[in-house]
């Protein structure tokens, strides 16, 4: 029996896997002075889009003085990360948080549920040839 199916379904069948990589938004909060260091570190894991925003920690002055910290200036780094790279990235961050002087921080990730267009997905996941998977109409 002949069944007519659209180009997207044909492409999906040929590729066996229509969405091979999930993306997550990695949020890393570190000391402002270490923002470039961590942004560079993260970029080495094929991350194509990062945003750095200046922020403040909410610890009280008294607590900071007690801990011998000069200020509570922070940087929040938002990075779009492939899920399959997250384990490696976490290990690297954990190691740096523990070993770099003044480099302590917190990082966590939130999964993406949707993304605007195949080209954007290709860019964020650092995958070439993604657009062909979804058919011309979605590129």
């Amino acid at each position: 029996m002949a069944i007519t199916i659209g180009s997207r379904a044909v492409n999906a069948r040929q590729n066996k896997n229509i969405a091979p990589i999930r993306l997550e938004l990695l949020i890393t909060v570190v000391d402002k002075k270490k923002a470039d260091f961590y942004a560079d570190l993260l970029q080495s894991f094929d991350i194509n889009m990062q945003m750095v925003v200046w922020a403040k920690g909410t610890a009280e002055e008294k607590t900071l003085e007690y801990l011998g910290l000069a200020n509570n200036d922070r940087a929040v780094i938002f990075s779009a990360v492939r899920e399959d790279k997250l384990d490696t990235i976490e290990q690297a961050l954990e190691e740096k948080f523990a070993s770099v002087k003044g480099g302590k921080g917190v990082a966590f990730s939130i999964p993406f549920t949707s993304i605007m267009g195949a080209a954007a997905f290709g860019f964020l996941s650092n995958e070439t040839g993604i657009s062909g998977m979804f058919g011309e109409e979605n590129v």
């Binding site: 949020i27 200046w54 403040k56 920690g57 909410t58 910290l69 997250l86 948080f97 990082a107 990730s109």
Partner: protein
């Protein structure tokens, strides 16, 4: 590490209310937060329709909390800086997949400041 025990609370309030946010959150077990400045872009038509004025200067407080205290924190925030108050705040939580840099042995207190 894969860790589904935490949730991130985002609380958007009028400028100057971040301390009220943190006091409310701390009163129910949260400890640290991170403050980002922002500018609101409310729909002017909606402002007229609902007869409210949205102050454009905003503060966004990010608070990482354990899942068990998330509802308590949101309730406390609603009471302290909800839309009925001068803080005109909204707060929401998102599930967090993985967490690095949190010391588990600090009890229920979590957040960036716990690392310092």
């Amino acid at each position: 590490m894969k860790n589904a025990n935490y949730q991130m609370i985002f609380c958007v309030v009028n400028a100057g209310f971040s301390q009220v946010v943190m006091e409310a959150a701390k009163s129910v077990g949260a400890r640290g937060g991170t403050l980002i400045h922002g500018r609101g872009t409310a729909n002017q038509e909606a402002e007229k329709r609902f007869q409210i004025v949205v102050q454009p200067d905003k503060e966004i407080v990010m608070i990482l909390v354990k899942k068990e205290i998330k509802d308590k924190v949101l309730l406390a925030l609603n009471k302290a800086v909800g839309l009925e108050t001068a803080g005109q705040g909204i707060a929401f939580s998102v599930p967090v997949d993985r967490v690095v840099g949190i010391a588990e042995d600090v009890g229920e207190d979590v957040g960036e400041d716990t690392k310092e």
